[in-house]
Amino acid sequence: MAEETITLEVTRYRPREDREPRAQAFTVPYRKDWVVLDALNHIKDRVDGTLTYRWSCRMGVCGSCGMMVNGVPKLTCAAFLRDYLPGPIRVEPLAYFPVIRDLVVDIEDFMGKLRRVMPWIIRRTEQPLTAGEYRQTPAQLEAYKQFSMCINCMLCYAACPVYGLSPLFIGPAAIALGYRYNLDSRDEGYHLRQPILAEAVGVWQCTFVGECSAVCPKGVDPAAAIQRSKVAGAKDWFLSILLPRGGRS
């Protein structure tokens, strides 16, 4: 009996040799429990060892195997072949990012933006270790919890046409993480972080397409974080007009 197969159309790009990426078709065995990442691993192990892509945990935690599957950003470790029958399945590097090789994109820009929003707890004065941990009520945790689920997989950037159109845009994940720390009851860094979120290339670039939230594999809602940061930014702005000498603490 002939083995069932499925075809993957995988983007190939060799730096300095190719001017543009091109698609290469691979036919791989079809298994009901295989995900796109399994098919890519099969190609790399058995067919073409030069195929280049990122992956690590295979369980939707590390956030490194994000690619475009049939034009939609997906974690390939969670994209089952059976959901794309009968194929072929288009596998491309994450949209809007510069391509380094094959399915690997350059993430420097995102890493820089992530650092800019200072996604860590900022204290005016750090309390001594002997004072114990900074405690929170369940309600205080609930306030920011969904935004802390981000795994930096960048699917939201690959879904965001605003990022594609203006690469300076800080973008969904970085703003959502900045917002997450602004919401944290232990944090005192709003006055440092919010000006970065609310600069011209920050939240104001967003036109609320909403696809960032639609593609997030972790149920984070970056679009809501951005719109709420706009509300906060607008409040600050109008307050600073009404009370020019620093109305807020």
Partner: protein
């Protein structure tokens, strides 16, 4: 604001075609939502002219209403009404997600907020319609 990163040799920089919004249904829905504002603005400009014509006297006002009854304007307003409804539906749905409404310590579920907004919209629209109907 930092300068755009200089392109690095060897990397492929994808270009965004002007037709990107045709690539995915969600992008197309977004574009239609944004374009709804154009139809709303044109309607409001027409309404402004209607008020202006009313100030010019009964003849000018009647002539203007006659013009609005032409098939072209009726078709435009029918399409514009579709866009206006689409704006209202998308706006109220999205606002309900963005605006956190709290009751004590708990957040009211966005679906409930949206339901409230839709109910308010419906009642307000009916009230305006009845006000116009009853006094005409």
């Amino acid at each position: 604001m930092s300068a755009p990163p200089a392109p690095r040799p060897g990397l492929y920089y994808p270009k965004m075609p002007a037709t990107w919004w045709l690539r995915r249904p969600a992008y197309l829905r977004f574009m239609l939502r944004e374009v709804s504002s154009v139809f709303i603005a044109i309607f409001l400009a027409v309404l402004m002219v209607q008020v202006y014509r009313a100030g010019q006297g009964p003849e000018a006002y009647a002539a203007f209403l006659e013009r609005l009854a032409s098939p072209g304007w009726i078709a435009f307003h029918a399409v514009a009404l579709g866009f206006a409804l689409y704006h209202s539906v998308t706006w109220l749905k999205l606002t309900a997600v963005v605006q956190v409404v709290r009751l004590g310590e708990h957040q009211v579920p966005p679906r409930l907020v949206a339901a409230g907004a839709f109910a308010f919209w419906g009642i307000l629209s009916l009230a305006i319609l009845f006000a116009v109907l009853l006094r005409s």
